[in-house]
């Protein structure tokens, strides 16, 4: 009989009641918020799913990724392409393609007409790209700052590619104007709150799954590789697969988050997935607390809420404010808000 006390033990700095409080708020929100606010909250929760992945790789794996936007985008574009095709009358192609002079659908768009393929693509493509990419880099024992820079280059390349292939990606404007998903009208009654419940459920499953993973021997080895890769190696473990699997899981969560976000926001575009958004994702987690799953969710919610409030009034101010917040947290609160909750800011 395995000892399950570790599940509730020290490894997560937040006291066990905080996740329950968050869950209670999440369950109450649909009854308390307007449809507009609920949609906003659902978007932030989708980002929270991505943030959970950063706790896994950055907090516990010591792997800083400045390219999570790429995986967010892969999930987002997958569902967006599907919705574009679903809304299309027989034989037609999306209007932005017509404007760019195309006459036929690109071959790689076609399988996305299938809901099953799209769902599989959302789950598999980001995971696979994350595994292959991190496998290639970690196999060469590249890590730390170099890894972060490579992920940033990846984000830059990905957003540049999307912008430059206007005729098949929608370019700078991205993809928007969706009307239905899997047969449900997006404007229909109940779709908004249905999607909210779906997002909350995914967030809960991701939280519990990661909680398990971090308490398991896998989590121990991930932290061990972060703190003493050589010791791990000379105990007979190869650290690379542990890091690659963690990175792939974080990529998968980013992809799922991206798909859900696109459903709530009704748009996916390079402005949401490039270099700057990818850095912002790290900032959410730095502020919430990179070792804490619940902290990362709180960070994603609070920072995006603040962003929404500030940037609608003073759009230029936001980046400065976020930069200042980031510096403040990194220098004074290395464990983020979760460190405060623990009562120990070391």
């Amino acid at each position: 009989m395995p000892d399950l006390s570790v599940l509730t033990a020290r490894f997560d700095p937040l006291k066990p009641f905080l996740p329950w409080l968050l869950l209670a708020l999440g369950l109450a929100a649909p009854f308390a918020l307007s449809a507009y606010d609920l949609n906003l909250l659902a978007r932030f929760m989708a980002m929270g799913i991505l943030a959970l992945g950063l706790v896994l790789i950055w907090g516990h794996g010591g792997i800083l990724s400045l390219g999570q936007g790429v995986f967010f985008g892969l999930g987002g574009y997958a569902i967006a392409i599907h919705m574009k095709l679903a809304d299309l009358p027989q034989g037609e192609i999306p209007d932005f393609m017509v404007w760019s002079g195309r006459t036929s659908l690109p071959l790689w768009w076609q399988p996305f007409a299938s809901p099953v393929f799209t769902l599989a693509a959302i789950l598999i493509i980001p995971t696979l790209v994350g595994a292959l990419f991190s496998g290639a880099v970690f196999h060469r024992r590249v890590g730390g700052t170099y890894f972060a820079l490579i992920t940033q280059a990846l984000a830059l390349a990905f957003s540049t590619l999307i912008i430059s292939r206007q005729d098949v990606t929608g370019g700078f404007n991205g993809l928007t104007d969706f009307y239905s998903v899997f047969g449900f009208g997006l404007a229909g009654p109940g779709t908004g709150s249905g999607l909210y419940w779906l997002t909350l459920a995914v967030l809960c499953v991701a939280f519990i799954g990661l909680r398990w993973l971090l308490a398991s021997r896998f989590g121990m080895l991930l932290r061990a590789s972060r703190d003493g890769e050589n010791r791990v190696r000379f105990l007979g473990y190869s650290p690379t697969p542990f890091k690659v699997v963690a990175f792939a899981i974080a990529a998968m969560l980013a992809g799922i988050g991206g798909a859900l976000f696109t459903l709530h926001a009704g748009v996916v575009s390079p402005a949401l997935i490039g270099v700057v958004p990818s850095i912002e994702m790290v900032v959410w987690v730095a502020i919430g607390g990179r070792y804490s799953l619940a902290g990362a969710i709180v960070g994603a919610l609070l920072v995006n809420l603040a962003r929404d409030a500030v940037s609608s009034a003073f759009p230029e101010l936001w980046l400065y404010l976020m930069g200042a917040l980031f510096i403040f947290v990194v220098t004074l609160l290395p464990r983020g808000l979760a460190g405060l909750a623990k009562g120990k800011a070391a």
């Binding site: 395995p2 121990m220 003493g228 000379f234 105990l235």
Partner: protein, 252 residues
């Protein structure tokens, strides 16, 4: 004795050269270890003792020569494959895993199945738990089992790492300066620990502390500038003028 000597051979370092862009940390170095033997390697700072461990464990790769373990070449194997064959090493600077508890440090070491897809279980399986508790008792860290290894005192970290190396079940243990930073009482406990390993383990110990080496009462190999210098009992080595010469200006 001579009849069984060949089959008793466990490790053979054969003419190994480690070249750091022109500087030879090991220079055509050879030595052998028999099964069950305890051997002490000494030499002045920079003699190449740690590099010898690095070579056996696969951290650095020789530009010439071979390392044979149980008769098979291992100098090109991946590090984790070398460990899987039964060699484990304690680093000169304590290499415990600081954010894991003392018990978890040992649990990772005691684990035999080290493949990632077998790592999703929670807790320590019963058979491994037994080995872990034994190791905790052996090094006297049972009362510290729950604390983070990073918060241990220096001597305790050394013991923990020794316990980890033992817990891997490795046949050949490489202990690089196990008593560094220990007081006389701790040092002598460490010697007892190594002596208590018995004939089932082969141990290569690197140390500067002569009282510790004397307590081990093991044959001594002396290195100097990456080369083999002398081998013999402690008394022999102490009386040797060449050894005295290389140690001039160093600790006696």
């Amino acid at each position: 004795m001579s009849g069984s000597a060949v089959s008793d051979l466990l490790l053979s370092v054969d003419g190994v050269t480690i070249d750091y862009s022109g500087f030879k940390a090991l220079d055509n170095f050879s030595m052998t270890l028999n099964r069950g033997e305890t051997r002490v390697v000494i030499g002045p700072n920079g003699a190449g003792k740690s590099t010898l461990c690095d070579t056996i464990i696969g951290r650095v790769r020789p530009s010439a020569g071979r390392v044979l373990f149980k008769g098979e070449e291992i100098q090109r194997l991946a590090e984790q494959k070398i460990v899987a064959r039964g060699i484990c090493r304690k680093f000169q600077a304590p290499g415990v895993l600081p954010t894991l508890s003392v018990r978890d440090n040992l649990a990772l070491a005691a684990r035999r199945d080290r493949r990632w897809w077998k790592s999703f279980g929670i807790g320590i399986p019963a058979d491994e738990r037994l080995a872990v508790e034994e190791a905790l008792d052996t090094v006297g860290l049972a009362h510290r089992a729950q604390v983070e290894a990073g918060t241990l005192a220096h001597g305790e970290k050394q013991w923990l790492e020794i316990a980890m190396v033992m817990a891997t079940g490795a046949e050949l243990l490489l202990l690089d300066e196990p008593t560094a930073g220990m007081g006389p009482a701790e040092t002598s406990r460490t010697a007892e620990l190594i002596l208590g390993l018995g004939d089932s383990r082969t141990v290569l110990v690197i140390d500067h502390d002569m009282s510790f080496v004397e307590q081990l009462a093991a044959p001594v190999t002396v290195m100097h500038q990456g080369k083999f210098l002398k081998q013999g009992s402690i008394a022999d080595v102490r009386a040797d003028p060449e050894v005295a010469a290389v140690y001039l200006g160093h600790a006696k």
